[in-house]
Subunit: 240 residues, 2 copies
């Protein structure tokens, strides 16, 4: 079993992902938000690339059965129901609803990975469950970091390192690609103080400047959910 | 001053590099070879993308004034004078000659970075000199790893980490981008045993399988040259 990491969606050519298990990581905040929405009993999450696409998709749902969520420049999109803050996706708001979501980095990474044999959603919130689920499938595993505007992002990298660490616990003989090796090392060096590590991320600093510290604190909680959202090819939807 | 790292050429959009100082890193082996060629008094190095382009360029030089070098799949190109082994670029062979070179990763990265305000060639062989030279220019500095077939490569990453470390010694207040932070950390963890770190690189393993251990040992020597090859926009050539 090979375990490797792509630092951004751009480098992950669809043909490389075909036949593999892909874990999508966008810690701040898309994959944390999707995980939270499904933990809180959303019916499913439909990732789309553009605002226009989100509105088109919405037109195919009956009123009251969906919510529009996501962000541009980390802020709520005009006319949308929810932004990209996982703390907004509470049970009272999302239970039973389909969430149509578009974000700058995370939904791009998800769309890029649709050719994968299995596509799972990972974050610190569900890292242990996501690693276990990916490992059970038994194929090579690629961790696809969403990154920030097509650049390597320390928050996603730290989570990838944690996932590599968990995966290697499950499969000690797994071969680690170069970035998997590097990020496992980074995670081990900082595992006792991940908030300190992630405070160096430029994306972190941007969110703090927008007053989103509470979101960051929420997203850095480890293994609070034992669920793994996955792309369902038949439903064309992320579900549990 | 911002210091950051691109893991591969693909992620480094030319508009991001414009106005910056860019250090190109392809430890195994292109930037080690270019540095060696110029240390051994080659007149200049002309990087080209394709074999056809190399032959076209050669036709513009007088016989005996140039050499064709490079690799495909790590091996010598049929009809070329030299492969991509830095140990072939000895003074007796290269002095006074222009080297026309095409490689799988390194020359691609160099071509990608031509919009940079200053483009310097770095390797373990000349890392300290390259860091100093880049720092003296005073702009933001991007380290552009060639990577291996568009993937993050541990050999280049380790050298990038060393360069970040040297640069931060020179400019303690420099802001480190996310990957610069990560790789400085990796370098510091392994600085006493870089060969061990780099033995984990999949590119290393490919070169060992081809019997190129002596090239690797050569390329991992630190700071044996106090020179910094740079792209000269007027001459369209890498020179000292």
């Amino acid at each position: 079993m090979l375990i490797d990491v792509f630092p951004t969606a751009a480098g992950a050519e669809p043909e490389l992902l075909a036949g593999k298990t892909v874990l999508i990581i966008d810690v701040l905040r898309a994959t944390s938000t999707i995980t939270t929405a499904l933990a809180n009993e959303a019916a499913g999450v439909l990732p789309v690339l553009t605002i226009a696409e989100a509105k088109e998709a919405a037109a195919t749902f009956a009123p009251g059965t969906f919510l529009l969520g996501g962000e541009r420049k980390a802020l709520k999109i005009p006319g949308f129901d929810l932004d990209n803050s996982p703390r907004q996706y509470s049970k009272g708001i999302v239970a039973g609803k389909t969430i149509i979501i578009t974000t700058t980095n995370g939904t791009v990474a998800i769309k890029q990975a649709l050719p994968a044999a299995a596509l799972l959603i990972a974050s610190f919130l569900n890292a242990r469950a996501a690693a276990r689920e990916a490992w059970k499938i038994g194929t090579d595993i690629y961790l696809l970091c969403a990154g920030t505007r097509n650049r390597f992002s320390l928050d996603d990298a730290a989570c990838a390192g944690m996932l590599v660490y968990y995966l290697q616990e499950l499969e000690p003989e797994a071969r680690l690609g170069d970035l998997a090796f590097t990020l496992r090392h980074l995670y081990l060096a900082y595992q006792k103080d991940l908030p300190h590590l992630i405070s160096h991320a430029s994306h972190y600093q941007r969110l703090v400047a927008l007053g989103l510290e509470a979101d960051i604190a929420y997203c850095l909680q480890q293994n609070i959910y034992d669920i793994v959202p996955r792309w369902d090819k038949r439903q064309n939807l992320i579900v549990l």
